[in-house]
Each structure stands twice: as structure tokens, then as C-alpha cells.
Symmetry: C2
Subunit: 353 residues, 2 copies
Amino acid sequence: MEKKNSGTVGVKEIARLANVSIGTVDRVLNNRVGVSEKTKAKILKIIKELDYQPNIFARRLASKKKLRFATLVPQVSEETTYWEAPLQGIKQAANEIKDFGIEVVSYFFDQNNKESFKTSAAKIVAGGFDGVLMAPMFDEESTVFIEECNLQKIPFVFINSDIPGHNNLCYIGPNLYQSGYLSAHIVNYLSPASKKTLIVNISKEIDLHHHLLRKEEGFRNYFEENNGINDISKIDIQQTSYAHIQQKLSEQLSKSSYDVVFVTNSRVSTVAKYFEEHQIKDVKLIGYDFLEDNILHLKNRTIDFLICQKPQEQGYRGVMSLYDHLVLHTSIEKEQFMPIDIITRENYQYYSN
Amino acid sequence: MEKKNSGTVGVKEIARLANVSIGTVDRVLNNRVGVSEKTKAKILKIIKELDYQPNIFARRLASKKKLRFATLVPQVSEETTYWEAPLQGIKQAANEIKDFGIEVVSYFFDQNNKESFKTSAAKIVAGGFDGVLMAPMFDEESTVFIEECNLQKIPFVFINSDIPGHNNLCYIGPNLYQSGYLSAHIVNYLSPASKKTLIVNISKEIDLHHHLLRKEEGFRNYFEENNGINDISKIDIQQTSYAHIQQKLSEQLSKSSYDVVFVTNSRVSTVAKYFEEHQIKDVKLIGYDFLEDNILHLKNRTIDFLICQKPQEQGYRGVMSLYDHLVLHTSIEKEQFMPIDIITRENYQYYSN
DNA sequence: TCATTTTTCGTGTACGTTAACGAATAAATT
DNA sequence: AATTTATTCGTTAACGTACACGAAAAATGA
């Protein structure tokens, strides 16, 4: 009843009701200086009563304000193509909001090189950006970067992995613990009778281990909570070359044999390759991410399950969160956990990242 | 190099280059009448050369044009809550585009009552809408409705099920054939040795059978193409009451026993209920859709697999397609097949519709 | 009290597009 | 040729907000 002219309330109407000019109304709307407390209160009251919603189109048209976002994620390497997907999500979001005067420029770093992270971070700091999206893979370097952002009052979001205890706008990515927990669940499903399981961590930089360790924790806790009688071993491989992985695996597998192998990241295809070359067929293999190499081994039946957590959407929602915060001023969910998708040879054809 | 003032090309610039006024440019942009072929060609050429992109904000601000979309989908009933999800997608989309001057109003019909479809369709026809989204469940009634839309030149999209051979803007939903094919694949996975399989169609209205039949076709073809030696039976149940379903199932199961039962729609929970009440435990059960009842039986281990095809996204993308077509004038993919998600007791907790 | 500074506010133009109105020109009719 | 009718085009005022500029009012200083 009361909203018959809904959407048509503008600064003009507010100004009329408050006996001031639209200029004054504009000042309190954008809380600029130069208006007395009394009239400011009066205008705010009217704005609230009318439930005034500014016309985003007129606003955008009249404003020549431009925002710039920076993104900092690992570059795609021949080691893993995982980061293609988040980058694509970033680009998609960038395309959707470019009409709104937002430019997003992408920076990269080498996962095996902390210096490259620092270099790119420095460029961003110097670039005068209004928002930052980052994959905070290196604890120390990320913290330094974050502090600089805080100093400059630049909001930043984390994707893919989290560093708790910082005032990031939000975290978008997997719930690592849950992810490991689910993996254990699947392992249990694959071989209900408690069998021998091997956890394989493959990563060069020790920092990334926080990431993997959290998964491992979830994995172990599942068995503790359910049937505590599973026999779990673990191996850390800190060189990503095939030769080295091969050697480490051979070493481990000569000591004992396993029913299930759980690789805590996307490097599972390397293990699959090893299995194939060594004619290992009766071991169930679980790993991470919808990558071409992994899918190949899924088809081969060498890999049994892949877990995937919408990497593209992580990138997309990451920059969108910055946009929502900076432009729309909407409140942002602090922790946005991705769904945990299970990919098998039954459904991989229909999966979309 | 050449695009240094990118984004700043407007009608004004075009008009200047063409030695005409902005009014004339506007006329060819909105292809209105009243401009000679010669100047029209000249202006179009310049527009193309400059790769002119109209400023959507200025456009929206200046235009008082409002569009109205109508949606026609089944109402949620106590029989099935499936259609809650598409409706939610519709509402989400409606909310996102309401600022762009688009109102979407929802109409409903009873899946067991063709008259209700006709009634709602008539209201839409009389409503003077600019676009229609519909779930064309009843062939004949839908065709009549469609013809009226064609007459009024109202674009319409199909979701959830298709009626081929009409000039619908697009179809958004499952690839039914593929969906059945995948189900067979899973069945094969559940019991690799060829075993006895029962297909169960449960639906009151015979029209809906086109929908189910296509799934069945995919299902059967899988076995023909792979190992043709599967023993497949089928039962059609045309009353949706539990009593009736119970009777039919008892009848069928007394004649023979089965290893796998494949229910071609979301009514699988009814079969699960029957299984539980009759202590049938060694039969694998596959069905459709992420509904509360179904999930319950998934947890119980009565249902083994559920197939789900993003019902919410169907609704969302359906109205978005109308928007893209009518407002943005982008070209629309004619057939938009949803991914085929497989839900098990391992991953249902993490599924998002 | 008068001059000066500061605070508070109104006016006007711009953003790029739409669309109504009417002017100019061309074509058709008498 | 004069008049009417169509066709083609230019001008202009919106749309609602941002922001620069300057005027008026108030506060401060002498």
C-alpha cells in the first residue's frame, strides 16, 4: 500500500522532505563533510523512513570512480595445471564486473619459490590497489604482505588455503579437515575391513604442509572416531621430480604393502604413473583434483576416487566478494567452504569444475 | 594502442564520425524506423569499426522500459518437493535482475491435473508478458500454450523437460538419455556380472512418460552397447499412492527377484519405504533427486545412488536466459544440459543443489 | 562593530542514452 | 506548380547521482 511509487524515491524527494537541496542530501549519503549535525540527523531519519535505495545505474553513470583489484595465485606450471581453474574463475568475474568500473590485474608466483611470491606481492603493494585476492601459500611471506595491506587499509581475501587469525575479508576454499575426513570415509567404503593405508604428502615447500597436515588430521580422526583399528602409515616426499618420487615410493613399498594409498593433493597422477609402471594393481588410490592427468588414470582404473572442490568457483567468488564488499557494501560470509565433490570413472564426464 | 580511450566511445562519437546527430545514431542502434538505408549503413559500419558497446547504465537510466517474465512450473506438493529447488533458482534470478526493471511473476500447476496447467497458461497469455519460462510437462497443453506465445511473439524457454521441435529460445535441463545411460553404467558398476534389473516408472499422467521413457532408452542402450546380456524388466505404476505402489511392487517381486531396481524419477523413496517395510535388503536401489526423503533412505543404506541435475540452477539459468536474450541481446545456447551429479552416502552432506 | 575565516549549504553541469517533438527534405498527389 | 503526405533527421529534455564552484550563514578574531 505505502510503496506504490516504489523505486522512485530519490535524492530529490528526500531533499524536498528535508527542506534542503539535493547537494546536501548527497553529502550525507556519501558521508562527506560540510553538513551540520542537525540537518544530517534530519536527513538520515528521512532516508531511513523512506528506505531509500540509491539508483545504482545513475550512481555508476555519474561516478568516474574506478576500482582496481589485484590477484596473486600460483602460475600454472608443468608440474600441475591446478591453478588454471581458479584463474579462469577470476577472469570470468573480472569480465562480469568490468562494466562497473573495476579493473582486475593478475599477478603470479612460483609455488616452489618464495622469492617470486615476495616480488609479486611487492608489485601489488606498490600498485595502489583497492582490493586483493591471494592464495596465501607461504605463511611468513603472506603475513608480511598482509600487514602491508592492513597498513594501507586494503581488504584482502584468501582462496584455496587459509591462514587463520588475520583480518581477511573472507576465506573461500575447502574445509581441509572435512576433506580429509571424507577421504577416510571413502577409504573405509573401499575396504570396510580395516586394512593398511598409506598417506602420501608430495610438496617441495614445507609451508604447504600446513595445508596437507590438516587433511591428514581429518583423515586420521575419522578412523579414531569410527573404527579405530585402521593401520595408517605416512610418507613425506619433498622433491616433486618423478625420479625422486619413484625412489621414495619404492623404498616405502618394499618395507610393507598397502591396501589403500591416499595422496593429499593433486600430485596423485604421479603415484598412479608409478603404479602402472610397476604393475601395482590391487591397491586402491585416492587423490585430489580434476586434472587431465588424473582423469586419465581414473579412466585407466589406476585411480579410484578424486576429490575436487570447485577451484574455478573459488576464483570467481573471491573477486566477487571484493566487489560485494567494496561496491555493494553487503556483508560477506567469513568462511565460504566449497562443496566436496567425489569424482569417479562413473561420473567424471559430467563434472564441471 | 588504438583502444586508449576504451569504453569512452558513445553515440556522440559515432554521430560525429558519421556527420549525423545522436538521434539518428540512436535510431539505428535501437533499429527504429526513420533512417535512410544509406546513412544506416554508414552508421552501422562505424559502430562495427569502433566495436561500440552501449553503456548499460546510461541505457537503463534513460529507459523507462519495464519487462515482465512469467514462470510456469509445478507447485510443490506433499507428493514431491522437487520443485522447491527450481523455484528457488527462479527467485534468485528474479532478485538479481529486478534492478534492471524486470518483474517476474510465478504461476503454478498441479502435476496430476492438466486443467490446472491450462488455467495458469491462460492467465499468462492474458497477462501480457514479455517472456515465459515453463516446465512443459503435458505435451498437448504445452503445445497449445506455445502456439499462443508464438502468436504474441513472446519468447519462451523450457526447463527440466523438453518438447523438441518447437522454437523455444532454449532448453535447460537434463540430457535424459545420458542420464539413463549413466544410471546403467552405475548399475553395471554395482553388479558387474549381468544380473536381473527392474526399471520402475511411477507417474500418474501418461504424458510424463515421454520424460521417463527417454531415460529408459538410455538405460537399455548402455547394456546393448556394452554387455548385451543384462536381463531387464520394467513396471509402470500409474497411481502415486503408497498403497497402490506397494501392491504393484509386491505383484512384480512375487513373480521374480531382482538384483537392481532403477526408479526413473524422484519417487524412489516410496520404493525404499517398501523395501524397508518388507525387509528387502539385498537389492541395489537407484533413483533421482536430492530430496529429504531420498536422503533419509540413502543414509539408511536402502538407496545406493541418487542422480541429481542441479534443479535450482535450472530455474536460475532459465530466467537468466530470457534476460540475456531480451535485454542483453546475447545469443543463447539452444540446449543447456545440466551436469549429472551422483550422490551417495559418502558425499551427500556436501552436495549443493 | 567590522572584517575575516570557517562552516554549511544551494546551484549547475556532467555522465551516456532514450524518446518525444518538430524541422527540413523528399516524394506523391492534385 | 502548388499542396499534401511521407520520410529522414536534429534538438532537447529527461533519467538519478556525483561533484565542483561559489553563495550565504555562522563563528571567530580584531
